[in-house]
């Protein structure tokens, strides 16, 4: 190798008895700090010592993203994005491509797993106040990732061109017609035609391939933001010193590996024994623009938004119910951007907020209720339940979150993470470093 300039690390080529590998590592790192970054971010990275299993879901989400991209890229080698050929190309993957059934079922069920993981990850953030100062941008980037995931999943579902693919695409793209003045023109632009058709399918395929890589970029920013101040923890208090943290490796690497095994076990049971449980039988019928299925139901992870959309059955203040439904449905996600500022409590973790914690636990139940409402035909008591659940959702964020934060008396916080985990005497003994 060429002689380094005088600024090179001592001993780099001075005949120091280092192995060839560590010399190679030093050579690379001097030019691109790859190993040093790995060490700084993944190995010796100081992480709160008290993270619970709720903190496994971030790494699980990242791994699931990789699984989706790998299976997706391979599927795209065999899939044909043309309206008369798409359905048959998927069947060819299932029947004739070696392990095609496996890759397809992994991709299909992986999408569901991705949303399950991300929703749990999101609720962890809500419960423990991970969105609060200084992690507001981290939270916002997360909501952006959620929006991108929803767009990606929606377009991906259209690709097999089954009955549900076609009609879900029709219903959801039709929502944009609610926009005043330009609505129908926007819908025509989206469709590339006068209905959902081949132009729509082709552009959805292109975007479905593109968006995941945008998600990767935003995940990169998400991790960058995370590492600025490190992870939150179940106590919601900042780390005071080195006694509060442990190195990421080996503690959290092994814990994440264990969590990964549990996740893969659940995933494997789905893929190998219940591969069609979460999806609609109607999507095994080729798309027919002349016949609408009995129930048009989105995939389970979109049901809450669908329920909110359908629960606005009345006009309000001159705004047509259709537009209001769209606004409130999309608003339910947009609202999440405001959470860092809606929450007025000085305390992060709901563990120390005796009143708020019940509402924090009520929210996921509310969303499950909304999910149920979305899965049922909109009639009778289901509609009322949906309206109540939608109302609660908005009340939770817009009224309860700011109000309870101000009015509640939080429980006293522990002195430090180490004190809470190790006991006060051990913590102060170790703390003098």
């Amino acid at each position: 190798m060429a002689a380094p300039p005088s600024g090179a690390p001592a001993g780099a080529l001075a005949g120091e008895p280092a192995g060839g590998l560590s010399r190679l590592v030093r050579w690379i790192d001097y030019r691109l700090p790859f190993v040093a970054s790995l060490d700084h971010h993944l190995i010796n990275y100081p992480t709160p010592r008290n993270l619970s299993y709720w903190w496994n879901f971030g790494s699980l989400a990242g791994i699931t993203l990789v699984i989706m991209i790998v299976t997706g890229v391979v599927l795209a080698m065999h899939y044909t994005p043309e309206a008369t050929l798409a359905f048959d190309s998927v069947e060819r993957i299932m029947r004739d491509v070696n392990y095609g059934w496996l890759i397809r079922y992994i991709h299909m069920n992986g999408g569901s797993m991705f949303f399950a993981i991300v929703y749990i990850h999101l609720f962890r953030g809500l419960y423990y106040g991970s969105y609060k100062y200084p992690r507001e941008l981290l939270w916002i980037l997360g909501v952006i990732i959620l929006l991108l995931m929803i767009a990606t999943a929606f377009m991906g579902y259209v690709l097999p061109w089954g009955q549900m693919s076609y009609w879900a695409a029709t219903v959801i793209t039709n929502l944009f017609s609610a926009i005043p003045v330009f609505g129908q023109d926007i819908v025509t632009l989206l469709w590339g035609g006068f209905t959902v058709g081949n132009p729509t399918l082709n552009r959805f395929f292109s975007l479905h391939y593109l968006l995941p890589f945008i998600i990767v970029a935003v995940v990169g920013l998400h991790l960058l933001a995370l590492h600025q101040h490190g992870s939150n923890n179940p106590l919601g208090i900042d780390k005071r010193g080195p006694q509060d943290t442990i190195p990421f490796h080996p503690y959290y690497t092994v814990k994440d590996c264990f969590g990964l095994c549990v996740f893969l076990l659940v995933f494997a049971i789905l893929v190998f024994y219940l591969p069609n449980m979460l999806s609609s039988a109607d999507n095994y019928i080729p798309a027919n623009p002349m016949v609408t299925p009995n129930h048009i139901v989105p995939e389970w992870y979109l049901l809450p938004y669908y329920a909110i959309l359908r629960s606005i059955t009345f006009d309000f203040l001159g705004i047509p119910s259709k537009l209001l439904g769209v606004v409130l449905s999309m608003g339910s996600i947009i609202l999440l951007f405001l959470v860092p500022w809606l929450d007025t409590s000085p305390v992060r973790s709901a563990r120390f907020r005796p009143i708020w914690r019940w509402f924090a636990m009520l929210l996921p139940l509310d969303l499950i209720a909304l999910g149920y409402v979305g899965s049922q035909p909109p009639a009778g008591f289901v509609v009322t339940l949906g309206q109540i659940a939608t109302a609660y959702y908005y009340i939770h964020f817009l009224i309860l979150m700011p109000l309870i934060g101000k009015l509640e008396t939080p429980r006293p916080l522990p002195i430090s993470i180490a004190a809470a985990v190790l006991g006060p005497r051990v913590a102060s003994a170790a703390g003098g470093e």
């Binding site: 391979v74 065999h78 095609g100 080195p242 006694q243 190195p247």
Partner: protein, 184 residues
């Protein structure tokens, strides 16, 4: 950073080696799992079952008259089947093969002398030589003539003139009966 290397557990060598064995097993399982998991993705790139189903083609030779030539498709490529008349067979056999660019005896290129089966793709740059249709130019040796760069093949489809380096390729085939062959 608290120095964790001197925690009490290290002093217990049994615990330490048990931890190492555990970690070794864990690492090994992870590695094996990853390796097994990769295979389906790689194998999915191999020819699919419908492609493989078209990897053999059966041809009924009965309708091909003496002197007739037929082109059939096999694995996406043309295959020339020539029901050679005696003059063509004699011309193919009566040559000193040491004069050939790609020396091959005619008897090594056919299973029955009256049937020549070769892949109709010029070994120069892949064009399809003329000579299999009625009225085609067969070139001076009565075999095939490639219009792209002028390669000329004889009645055993061996290269005689022009830029092609090798004789037309003989695909694997067998006679399933006196009047039928299976290619591939």
């Amino acid at each position: 950073m608290a120095d964790l290397a001197h925690s009490p557990v290290d002093a217990d060598h049994g615990g330490a080696s048990r931890r190492d064995f555990l970690l070794l097993t864990a690492g090994a399982l992870g590695g094996i799992g990853a390796a097994i998991a990769i295979w389906p993705f790689i194998d999915s790139l191999n020819p699919a079952r419908d492609t493989l189903a078209l990897s053999t083609t059966e041809v009924d030779l009965a309708p091909i008259q003496v002197g007739q030539r037929l082109t059939i498709a096999w694995r996406g490529k043309p295959v020339f089947i020539d029901h050679r008349p005696p003059e063509e067979i004699k011309a193919a056999q009566a040559i000193d093969i040491s004069t050939l660019r790609d020396p091959q005896k005619d008897s090594d290129r056919v299973k029955k002398p009256e049937w020549l089966v070769v892949v109709g793709v010029c070994t120069h740059l892949g064009c399809i030589p003329l000579g299999n249709k009625l009225g085609d130019d067969r070139g001076p040796f009565g075999g095939w003539f490639c219009p792209c760069h002028g390669s000329i093949y004889d009645t055993s489809a061996r290269i005689r003139q022009g830029p092609a380096p090798l004789n037309l390729f003989v695909p694997p085939y067998e006679f399933t009966s006196d009047t039928a062959i299976k290619i591939g």
